[in-house]
């Protein structure tokens, strides 16, 4: 018997479109499973970008911390004033500026609202959108926190027991873990009762001096410090989120994979069961087992691909909508995370196709003539 030209008939598409409701539900299910992976990664990526808002905005070429310290968030660092002077003396350094960095709460009153902040005493105030940099007894808040507290310019807030007047607002630092707030270094020194100690030093290089070389020179010439270029310090800071969320992300990928396999497998299997008689007819007309297998695999692949594209679209939608609902929830979709979700989708497709493929390959061409129901 001569085989019919099955290649000319879009069997995969037709079979999927024959039961649109089920296909749509399957695509939606796979999309939601992949959304679990993509949304979680996007949330963590969003957190990373906000963590480095201050570092990115300092304009420093090199950031110097206590020896062994390469992060700022949830980190303690202390440099003696003499150390900062020693850094200033390193060839190639144009200027140094020390600042204090501490975790604190900003409160509007004894029983009022509060918000957690990374309190920076001294140094630049990046992304100032309103008012002015803080003078003694003043504080600059992120706009999101200021709105939450209802604290406008001129209002008084309490920080570490001290009353500070709001002098301005910055933007772009609010994340679910908190935001940045800025005070004068003398103010924070007074509140914390510290003298001649800073947490970090910001270093500007002389024109023509490479930041990497300068960092290496500071590490060599000054004892008890770790100097990093701004870029490498920011990268190290971003890795804090990645390192601390690795297990959670892995768990979510596993769950997304299981749900994706179950949904894709369920839809593909239902589809095949419903079309078993069609496959019998096709096999009787000369469709090879290999070709039948490819049709099923094609269906699963198309389902998963559509689910993946929909998941991407939903994540992009969430990234656009969520910040409007909660200014601290920022989502950032990175190519590496998309590639990871694509790999999960590929694995889902492979595993989900197994059972229906076995079923179709086992269909006997003659079975179609045996019953008439």
């Amino acid at each position: 018997m001569t085989a019919l030209p099955f290649g000319a008939v879009p069997l995969v598409r037709r079979q999927l479109l024959a039961r649109r409701g089920r296909t749509l539900a399957g695509v939606l299910g796979i999309a939601v499973a992949l959304l679990l992976v993509l949304a979680l990664k996007a949330i963590f990526a969003g957190m990373e970008s906000r963590l480095t808002a201050f570092i990115d905005g300092t304009g420093a070429d090199v950031i110097v911390a206590q020896e062994g310290v390469t992060t700022m968030h949830m980190t303690q660092s202390a440099l003696a004033a003499g150390t900062v002077e020693a850094i200033a003396g390193v060839p190639g350094v144009a200027s140094t500026e020390g600042f204090l960095y501490k975790g604190a709460f900003v409160e509007t009153g004894p029983n009022g609202k509060s918000g957690i902040v990374a309190l920076v005493g001294g140094g630049p105030v990046p992304n100032l959108i309103d008012g002015r940099a803080p003078r003694s007894g003043e504080i600059v808040l992120d706009r999101v926190l200021a709105d939450t507290l209802g604290a406008g310019e001129g209002d008084v807030v309490r920080v570490l027991g001290a009353r500070l007047r709001v002098s301005g607002q910055v933007e772009g630092t609010a994340a679910i873990t908190g935001s940045f707030a800025y005070v004068a270094r003398a103010t924070l020194e007074q509140v914390l009762k510290v003298r001649n100690v800073v947490s970090y030093a910001l270093v500007r290089a002389r024109p023509g001096t490479d930041a990497g070389e300068l960092a290496a020179r500071i590490n060599r010439d000054v004892a008890g410090v770790t100097a990093s270029t701004r870029a490498s310090f920011a990268a190290s800071e971003r890795r804090v989120v990645g390192d601390m969320s690795t297990d959670i992300v892995r768990g979510m990928i596993l769950v997304g994979f299981v749900i994706g396999v179950a949904v894709a497998g369920l839809v593909a299997y239902s589809q095949v069961l419903a079309q078993l008689r069609d496959y019998g007819i096709l096999r009787a007309l000369g469709l090879s087992a290999r070709r039948a297998l490819m049709i099923v695999a094609g269906q699963v692949a198309l389902l998963v691909l559509s689910g993946f594209v929909l998941a991407l679209a939903l994540t992009a939608l969430l990234a656009a909508v969520l910040p409007e609902l909660s200014a601290t929830l920022v989502l950032s979709l990175r190519p590496v995370d998309v590639a990871q979700a694509a790999a999960v989708a590929g694995a889902v497709a492979l595993v989900a196709a197994l059972v229906p493929v076995i079923h179709v390959v086992r269909v006997e061409p003659a079975s179609v003539f045996r019953r008439t129901s």
């Binding site: 939601v32 679990l36 062994g68 303690q76 975790g103 709460f105 027991g161 390192d243 601390m244 179950a262």
Partner: protein, 371 residues
């Protein structure tokens, strides 16, 4: 016709066991995910107060202190002495604590470093190996954290320019976000370049002295400090840590719930479509619309109940195996979580059961005889 005598719903479900298994597995995965995420959130809250839960009922920090973990607090020596002299204070043990971002094998690992005075309150309460720190740069590390990173008694850990020698391993001090490490207060103060200071005082009330009364007395008599009850401080810590994760966690839970609804709907709808001829026959022999809907609802309910039961078993098994497999995590699945999940699953089933309702209503009984 008395359709109730024939177990149609059960027979239809069991006719395709593979499909049923996949549907139940997917619902179970979604249910288990919701329970585990909720349990992880609760466990996180319990872990962040592991240290505080072992301390006396009143703590004193810098004025404005309301949080033990995330807030800076500095008490100078004079203040420490003044608090110790307040009537009703049996003991005021100073500790200097703070986050320690350890760099272990190139990976950042967050811990809570407690600096206490040897021989006084504030140190490790149970040792798995070695001894307590007695002098400068000696360290007791949480056993689970040490195991994970190949550290043991005798190891040296570089931290903030100091070489900390591990002299002991503590147990009951692990945590996903804040495993504990202990050293002397002098060691932490030296790293902070703030000698003789403390961040908090652990205040033990005298016999017969109520903690809340002592809290008020200290706040009234000592300027520049905040006395706060341990339980309130712990609640504030939990709010900060757990609250930060509430938004993303809620989003994940909603997504998982959507998956559960969708899976039940796919199963019931595809089963209904595939059996249109059977349903048309049942309609033709007199089964009413309500009875047909009940038939479908029974199927979706069965998938929901089986999936939820399996999901609960998986979640409970996972939470029980966590202490062995990944001891730094704590997943607390409570019976109220399970009840809430069961109710939600039944609501999911109800929602999914409505999907084929319109199709069934429009199904022509005569179609049973057409082919």
């Amino acid at each position: 016709m008395e359709g109730g005598r024939v177990p149609v719903a059960r027979r239809q479900l069991l006719a395709e066991p593979a499909k049923l298994v996949a549907a139940v597995a997917a619902v179970a995965a979604a249910v288990a995910l919701v329970l585990l995420l909720s349990g992880l959130r609760r466990g996180l809250g319990e872990q962040v107060t592991t240290y505080l839960d072992r301390q006396p009922p009143v703590l004193v920090g810098q004025a404005g202190a309301r949080d033990f973990l995330s807030q800076t607090s500095v008490l100078v020596p004079g203040t420490v002495a003044r608090v110790a002299r307040v009537p009703g204070v049996a003991d005021a043990a100073p500790v200097t604590e703070g986050y320690a971002m350890l760099n272990l094998h190139g990976k950042r690992v967050l811990a809570l470093l407690i600096g206490y005075d040897p021989g006084r309150r504030g140190g490790p309460w149970r040792l798995a190996a070695g001894r307590r720190p007695a002098s400068l740069n000696e360290l007791v590390l949480d056993r689970v954290l040490a195991d994970e990173h190949g550290l043991a008694v005798g190891s040296t850990l570089r931290f903030r320019g100091a070489g900390l020698r591990v002299v002991g391993l503590s147990s009951g001090t692990s945590g996903f976000m804040t495993p504990l490490a202990f050293t002397t207060r002098a060691t932490v103060n030296a790293m902070n370049r703030q000698p003789n200071t403390a961040s908090f005082l652990l205040v033990t009330p005298g016999r017969g002295v109520a903690p809340d009364a002592l809290e008020r007395r200290i706040n009234a008599e000592v300027p520049g400090v905040s006395a706060i009850l341990r339980d309130r401080l712990a609640a504030n810590d939990r709010d900060v840590f757990v609250g930060a994760f509430s938004g993303p966690l809620l989003a994940m839970i909603l997504i998982a719930a959507a998956v559960a609804v969708l899976v039940i709907a796919i199963t019931v709808y595809s089963s209904t479509r595939d059996r249109s001829r059977e349903y048309a026959t049942l309609k033709a022999v007199g089964l009413g619309r309500g009875a047909l809907l009940r038939l479908v609802a029974a199927q979706s309910g069965a998938v929901a109940v089986a999936g939820t039961a399996l999901g609960v078993v998986l979640a409970v098994a996972a939470s029980r195996s966590v202490p062995e497999l990944a001891p730094k995590y704590l997943i607390v699945v409570t019976s109220s979580d399970i009840v809430r999940m069961a109710v939600a699953a039944l609501l999911f089933a109800l929602a999914a059961g409505f999907v084929p309702a319109r199709y069934l209503a429009a199904l022509d009984p005569a179609s049973a005889f057409r082919r």
